[in-house]
């Protein structure tokens, strides 16, 4: 177990290091990132001064190690636009995004799991076909469109919910649904195939032959055994939600990380953009690591298979 954990941890670290390198080089795709940091009205002198302060006049390899050093010390740099440390700016936005992601995950779980279960148990019936259609619709729905439509109908026409902004529970409802739809589809599909797989197993058939009632079977055996794929997909969904938040937050004027990213791109506040990207990647790597570990606890076979 320990070897497995260390191995996974090591892999995660390598990936994190790779992400840092990738982000570093993407920023230098055009050669000199100074232009990204300055407003368009900057003069040539501003340009040179900025280059020197940030060390962009040094050789690339030196810059790279300086960058890695900063990152290791968790020094994300300073935002020139907002004139504040990037870490503080991020910290002020994270709670909102977490709130939104939790809401979306709740929507996805609360609706997606039962739908998937019903689809599996009622395979071939009209109800399951309708649900599948609904799931496909959720999957193909552009978040920004469903968001705008909800704002229009529930916010503007019916006036049931506040159209945008934050502050109360009512504010959270529409963004959570908009963000949760795609995950909902994923959960419904995964649950469906997991339950279908389990239904085909021998133990279920023999239990049914022995006269065990379906509801009891579902609650005692099916749910637990179908949980594994659902758990592992949650790790992937978390990074999906983070990415989706960029658009949903823009639609609903929700002051989280996503809105921050878009504002920072518009304001050419590159230090902040870079920090959000790194944060997103780290969260993804960590979530995957966690999923691997959880997986190996639930299903010890995974551990044996991967170490060989």
């Amino acid at each position: 177990m320990l070897i497995f954990l260390l191995n996974r941890l090591f892999q995660a670290l390598i990936t994190a290091f790779g992400v840092l390198t990738l982000v570093f080089f993407i920023q230098r795709l055009t050669g000199d990132p100074t232009a990204l940091l300055l407003p368009e009205t900057a003069t040539q002198e501003d340009f040179e001064a900025m280059r020197r302060t940030l060390g962009f006049d040094r050789p690339l390899i030196e810059q790279y190690f300086a960058f890695l050093g900063d990152m290791l010390r968790f020094d994300l740099g300073k935002s020139f636009v907002q004139n504040a440390p990037v870490s503080e700016i991020l910290a002020s936005r994270i709670p909102q995004t977490l709130q939104l992601a939790a809401g979306a995950l709740f929507v996805a779980f609360a609706i997606g799991l039962p739908l998937g279960g019903v689809m599996a148990l009622m395979r071939g019936r009209w109800l399951s076909r309708w649900i599948m259609g609904f799931v496909l619709a959720c999957q193909s729905m552009p978040t920004f469109w469903s968001g705008i439509m909800m704002i229009m109908v529930f916010g503007v026409w019916l006036k049931w919910l506040p159209p945008s902004g934050t502050g109360s529970f009512a504010h959270l409802i529409m963004p959570s649904i908009a963000l949760g739809l795609l995950s909902l589809a994923t959960y419904a599909r995964i649950t469906r195939s997991a339950v279908v797989d389990e239904l085909g197993r021998d133990y279920i058939r023999s239990a049914r032959a022995r006269g065990v009632k379906m509801p009891r079977l579902v609650s005692k055996h099916l749910l637990r055994n179908s949980a594994i794929p659902v758990i592992s997909i949650t790790a992937l969904e978390i990074s999906q939600l983070l990415a989706g938040a960029v658009i949903v937050e823009t639609v609903f004027a929700w002051p989280g990380l996503g809105q921050l990213t878009v504002q920072s791109v518009a304001a050419r506040d590159f230090a902040v953009v870079q920090a959000v990207v790194l944060l997103g990647a780290l969260v993804t790597i960590f979530a995957n690591l966690l999923a691997d570990i959880l997986y190996s606890i639930i299903d010890p076979r995974v551990r044996l298979g991967s170490s060989s």
């Binding site: 704002i151 990074s239 997103g280």
Partner: protein
């Protein structure tokens, strides 16, 4: 299986969509006395025409980026799966690294550096999405490479490109196509998402994402601006997903 059940319900929709969007030669005129089928936007432009022009952008961006990222990804995946050893470690690690940055964020940071625009969007989407094909091609190549005809070709002195092109590619193309159709839908959404954020194809070129972004400001007064581009987007992605589902179903059965 489930797609087979579903296909009859929704099938009449997708051939129609594909045909309609396939031949986009309708010009959008703005002269007086013309019926504006879907209303006009904030500058008095005909939404229907802009929709059709926007479809051009959406589809060409999606097709090009699917093609490019497919080519890059499949090549990388095949190389990693066939050559094994160092190639495998380095290439697949690279894939992991790319996949661990949420795609939209990777796209945003790259657009922020390169600047928006038609070709840059394609480059960005390619850069973001190739790892997915690499994963699939890699897994498939691993199993195909074990088959006897590959060993035979090697023994007869077939070069690496030849073995990959003649023997491996035809055998892995099925699953890759399935991924490509599903990715097509995703690319359409991505392009629209980037334009929605103002990072895609720049105005005044019509783009569904940008139209939605305008529409958002007018939800209270002009519902049609945001409704129709979104609906078009939704239908296009839905049909791509349906085709992908059905394809994966047929290919899955064939195995």
């Amino acid at each position: 299986m489930c797609a087979a059940i579903l296909a009859p319900v929704l099938a009449p929709l997708d051939p129609d969509r594909q045909n309609l969007l396939g031949r986009l030669k309708v010009p959008g005129f703005e002269s007086r006395g013309v019926t504006y089928w879907l209303g006009t936007d904030e500058l008095g432009r005909d939404i229907f025409s802009r929709l059709i022009y926007g479809a051009r952008i959406s589809i060409s961006v999606a097709v090009l980026s699917v093609l490019l990222s497919g080519i890059v990804g499949v090549t990388v995946g095949m190389l990693a799966g066939y050559l094994r050893g160092w190639w495998e470690t380095v290439l697949m690690r690279l894939v992991d690294i790319f996949l661990s940055i949420p795609a939209i964020l990777l796209a945003i940071i790259t657009v922020a550096v390169l600047g928006p625009g038609f070709f840059n969007v394609i480059i960005v989407l390619t850069l973001t999405r190739w790892p997915r094909y690499a994963r699939v091609a890699y897994g498939q190549t691993l199993s195909v490479a074990k088959r006897p005809f590959v060993a035979l070709s090697q023994a007869m002195g077939g070069s690496v490109p030849r073995v990959l092109w003649v023997h491996i590619l035809p055998n892995i193309i099925g699953p890759v196509l399935v991924v490509a159709t599903l990715e097509f839908g995703l690319m359409v959404l991505f392009e629209a998402g980037l334009s929605f954020l103002g990072l895609g194809v720049q105005p005044p070129t019509a783009s569904w994402g940008a139209m939605l972004s305008t529409g958002r400001n007018y939800v209270a007064t002009a519902w049609w601006i945001a409704t129709f581009p979104g609906l078009a987007l939704f239908l296009l992605v839905l049909s791509a997903n349906l085709i992908g589902d059905r394809l994966s179903d047929t290919i899955g059965k064939g195995r």
